[in-house]
Amino acid sequence: MASSKKKIVFLLLISFELAVIIPLGAVLLPTQPRGRRIAVEARKFGYTPARIHVNRGDTIVLSVSSRDVSHGFQLDGYPLDLIVRKGVMFQKKYAHPHGDDGKEDWNRVASVSFVADRPGKFIFRCTQTCGNLHPFMTGELIVGPNIPYYLFLSLSIWVVFAALFWMRCVPGQDSKNRSKRIDMLGNLPLVKRLVGYRGFHFLAILPNFIVFYLFILSSLWGSPVGNRNIAIVFVWILWWFLLKAVLVPFGGRLWCMMCPLPAPAEWLSRMRLTAVRYVSKPFRRLHHRFLGLQKDWPLRWRKVWLQNILFLMLISFGMILITRPVATAVVFIVILALTVVLALIYRHRVFCLYLCPVGGFLGTYSMAAMTEVRAVDPDICKRHREKTCLVGGPNGWACPWNQYVGKMNRNNYCGLCTECIKSCPKSNVSIFLRPFGSDRVLSGYDEFVNVNIMLAIAIAFTVTMLGPWGFIKDAANVTETRQLVPFLLYLAAIWSSALVVFPALLLSSAVLSQRTAGRLVRGRRFTLRQAFILIPVGIFAWIAFSLPAIMVNYGYIFSVFSDPLGMGWDLFGTADMHFVPLIPEWIPVIQGIVVLVGLFLGIRGAGRGLKSLAPDPSILWRLMLFPALFTLLAVNILLFLFMG
């Protein structure tokens, strides 16, 4: 056994070396450096040509012109910074390589020349606020042979091979053991006291309540320019990145715990901010009387289907939403109003559970998260007849998410509000830290479609927002271009790929795998576990998508921090912070690593989820083969968009 394991590791190492060496061989391809004269025209919101292909060693003589307003041209990885206006081009003089002396020196030039000395993809960006979509105005310089891209392409194939090979050869035991989790409240008495405090939830919401209130004020009366308005910069650059890269992978629905949008509705329906109103005689099961009609949400809507559709509706206008402050205000105000209306009709957080466009994917993605709220000992729950966590008690409200902790084995519908920790008279509920990707069973086709939607939209947003294609941005930017046909085509592409193409491909690859694996491994149970592959892949695809927004635009965070409403303030002396992207030439490589990690975790996680149903390794790896290949395809679309 030990020697065969050694052989497997040896084979994996050899194949890894091959996967690295073969693409690096492209260095040996003969290249003849030559001079190239390239004329680029900038317009709102793109460059022509959008993608410039050159070879390594070429000397490029570049002239940039503008067809409309003032634009910039800043090339990642090169000290090249231009401002172009109609008929004139200015180049920034880098006289002081270490820091500014506060003054910028610009020279009028006819053209600039530089040698493309490194292979890879380098993005050039607009630096002059040129309109609504300015932050997304980019173009690409591809210096061939594009070795980093070939390397990651080859590595992605290797990751799939290695993961499946390992699955086939190393049986391993069913890793659904509970010993790997760490009881946070049992080990940290201070945290236990904090979470046990009745005002804890309120105090977690309060900072976000203040900040989101400021966002609403600012998105109505602040600057109309998106990258000068704190609502846009903080919500769609900072919050989005933190949500995708920190809160979801580590905390799951941790955001739902501190989200201020449904808070006023909850305070209103409870008629309390922190305290509990307990009635000993239960009213329709619960020991509380809420303000309003107190109906129950219809059973057939207790799925994420509505959230899937509402998320797609919201992101159909995604480009407008993240560039117009007033659109962000409208969304916040509509959500606030909806939560109040729904809280007065229904019990529980029905908006968060079944309607919130963000809540749907937070639920499915929280399955992989490293935090969970669970019963310490489920047997105690089984014996405890009152089920205080579900119906409420004198020390805590009935679970607003309508969950019974004793049987809860997935994170999907748990908002981490910590009421059950307070209400449980047996102190049997705790917060646990656990390995990434621990809940592995999707409950239905609503979640199956949800993970497909999320991956498809990650790709669609990468094309629209990070891609160099101006005509796609125009199509998405319908309120400015006022051209309905391209917008409808754009919507058709997004909706059909998210609701039809991706789910159909995953479903057929799952079924195909089941056919090749044998007769006993068929059906919905297997399909739903195979689909888990898209949860880690999706989370990491979204992290890779959000990375450039923060690494390129972080300067806006500092400048709006000092001038939140774009009124000309300078609270902390950072209002005039320059637009200096952080190591932008490395962004494609970092994105490549991130999606490969997701690919590996996806295959591994789905394999582990299937293990209890198909313990035989030779069946198991076949079950994962075609879903893994489908995911490889999706990952390669992303790799091409990031690096190719």
């Binding site: 503008s66 409309d68 307003v69 003032s70 206006r85 109609k86 002059q128 606020t129 040129c130 309109g131 609504n132 009745r198 005002g199 309120f202 309060l206 309540f209 203040i210 209130y213 400021l214 004020l217 600012s218 998105s219 109505l220 009366w221 602040g222 600057s223 109309p224 320019v225 990258n227 000068r228 308005n229 609502a231 309390r272 901010l273 922190t274 305290a275 509990v276 117009r324 402050p325 007033v326 205000a329 309120t479 400015e480 400048s559 001038d563 409403l565 774009g566 009124m567 000309g568 303030w569």
Partner: protein, 158 residues
């Protein structure tokens, strides 16, 4: 020791009320405080905001105004505002942009901004209106279709 949650609720409620009313008031107060008070030293202040769709707009343009500004193209005539002052007034122009980089020129007084008016930034132009008459001010950074019509009139009364 146990804090009485009902008593706490009142404190927290007071906190919420303070935030809801205090935040807008604090914003207004700080904005008035940090603004160079032109009116104090007897000068006349005007706000001009550049817009790609409407040319010069008299006054500030807030995020919510975008809804009315992006009306259909037929009604989209340049605003061409009028500023009237008396001779020997000190005039302060607060220049803003609601979208892209604009410029400002008032040839009759030899004012020709070399740096653009960046969105989210404020530029001040100050001069003594010592010539009577009617003068045209314009934008001197090409800003799109409306650029040629991005004008306004300064009237200096005797």
């Amino acid at each position: 020791m146990r804090l009485d949650p009902h008593k706490n609720d009142l404190i927290y409620l007071a906190l919420l009320v303070i935030i809801v009313f205090g935040l807008p008031l604090a914003i207004l107060a700080y904005d008035i405080h940090q603004r160079p008070l032109a009116a104090k030293n007897g000068s006349k202040e005007f706000v001009l905001t550049g817009s790609v769709e409407r040319g010069w707009i008299a006054g500030e343009v807030n995020a919510v105004d975008v809804l009315s500004l992006s009306a259909p193209a037929q009604e989209n005539k340049p605003a061409e505002p009028l500023i009237a002052v008396d001779k020997n007034d000190r005039v302060v122009l607060k220049l803003r942009s609601s979208d892209v980089t604009h410029g400002f020129s008032l040839k009759a007084y030899g004012i020709y901004l070399t740096e653009g008016i960046q969105p989210g930034k404020t530029l001040y132009v100050s001069f003594l209106a010592d010539k009577a008459g009617s003068f045209v001010f314009a934008c001197n950074v090409y800003c799109g279709d409306v650029h040629q019509h991005m004008r306004g009139t300064l009237i200096v009364r005797e």
